[in-house]
């Protein structure tokens, strides 16, 4: 069974342990053959990886980079008028138009609703008057009982 400290050897090799832990590991390495072997193996792998070549950027790297940037900006410039027109003109104008339209619509609807309610109320009043036979009381003479009743119902004469 492998030593449980083997896992820390990778970080140890990279110099990523605290000073305290480093001392513990160094002490531990004196007496643990598994860890010694493992660390040696990791060193050897690290040495082998030094054979991995580096490459140099081509001498045309900057020229090609600038060309690509210029091409991209040219493509977005062609799209620019439409996109920018949409963003700078159409959106604010559209929003303003929508707000004005909403105000007019609200006003119109308000009036319409008021009219409907007024008509409905008038109709109700007439039905109520018919129910109480108020209209039939209009022809009664001043001071008569029916006339007094009529005044009480309509609130006139107060």
């Amino acid at each position: 069974m492998k030593c449980s400290r083997i896992r820390r050897l990778s970080a140890f090799l990279d110099g990523e342990v605290t000073e305290e832990e480093k001392q513990h590991i160094l002490e531990h390495l004196k007496t643990c053959p598994d860890c010694q072997k493992e660390l040696e193996a990791l060193h050897q792998v690290s040495d082998s990886l030094d054979s991995f070549e580096e490459i140099e950027p081509s001498p045309y790297f900057m020229i090609h980079l600038k060309q690509r940037i210029a091409e991209r900006e040219a493509r977005s410039f062609i799209r620019f008028p439409f996109v920018e027109w949409t963003r700078r003109v159409a959106v604010p104008v559209g929003t303003t138009a929508l707000v004005i339209f909403s105000l007019f619509l609200g006003s119109y609807l308000g009036k319409a609703i008021y009219q409907v309610r007024a008509e409905s109320e008038s109709r109700l009043n007439m039905e109520f008057a018919d129910l109480l036979c108020i209209n039939s009381l209009d022809d009664f003479s001043e001071g008569s009982l029916s006339n007094v009743y009529n005044d009480l119902l309509t609130g006139e004469g107060e």
Binding site: R7, S10, A11, F12, L13, D14, G15, E16, K22, L26, L29, K30, P33, Q36, L39, E40, A41, L42, H43, Q44, V45, S46, S48, L49, S51, F52, E53, E54, I55, E56, P57, S58, F61, M62, H64, L65, R68, I69, R72
Partner: protein
């Protein structure tokens, strides 16, 4: 090598590794100040500053990508893409992290999103030999040997899962600390340690037997 000698070698190796990282950290403060000035100018659209920045980082960026994907022609393509993003998104660098951290974040994202466009055609032994027998044959052999070893290592690294691969490359070849790698990759410190530990384990299994045979 005796156990005691091996231990001494390991100790000195560790001290060198820590010293190098500490030395690198001190010099990075000056570099970061310079980088901040450069990036401010890039944000303002200063092309000269952008060119200076590219010159400063092109080799490192290119080699990180090359080591990740193993293909030199596509690596250059992707490296340019990184710098195009830097040019267009310089404004999004707020200075909360180091500039190199921000830059490598773009590199890592490009690498992790990479899909190969075509199969790389590696020079065959015949082609290398065709370059000349004598008096260039020694050069050809050395070149062949170098390419062969590099190919073996490249293949071994390419077999690593993406995140292990990029974490290992940033640590081993770019000399980034675990903390910096964690910031670049947007993961915890313990995740970085785990990724690198697993990557090393896999590479050890693949490369050590070859090393013992003398192939690398």
């Amino acid at each position: 090598m005796s156990g005691k000698n091996r231990l001494e070698k390991i100790k000195s190796g560790y001290q060198w590794s820590r010293h190098k990282k500490e030395k690198d950290m001190k010099s990075t403060d000056d570099k970061e100040n310079q980088n901040e000035e450069l990036i401010k100018k890039v944000v303002e659209g200063d092309e000269t500053a952008f060119e200076q920045m590219v010159k400063k980082y092109e080799r490192r960026v290119l080699n990180t990508i090359y080591r990740y994907i193993g293909k030199s022609d596509e690596a250059e393509d992707i490296a340019q893409e990184v710098f195009i993003k830097v040019w267009h998104h310089a404004k999004s660098f707020k200075g909360k992290s180091k500039f190199s951290t921000w830059l490598y974040r773009i590199v890592v994202n490009q690498c992790l999103n990479y899909r190969s466009k075509h199969k790389e055609r590696l020079a065959s032994l015949d082609e290398i030999m065709e370059q000349g027998k004598t008096p260039e044959s020694l050069k050809v052999e050395i070149e062949f040997e170098r390419q062969r070893k590099s190919k073996i290592i490249r293949r071994a690294i390419n077999k690593l899962p993406k995140r292990q691969r990029i974490a290992f490359i940033l640590s081993k070849f770019e000399g980034k600390s675990y903390r910096e790698i964690a910031q670049i990759m947007g993961v915890s410190l313990s995740s970085v340690e785990s990724l690198i530990f697993r990557a090393r384990g896999t590479l050890k299994k693949k490369l050590l037997p070859l090393r013992k045979k003398g192939e690398i």
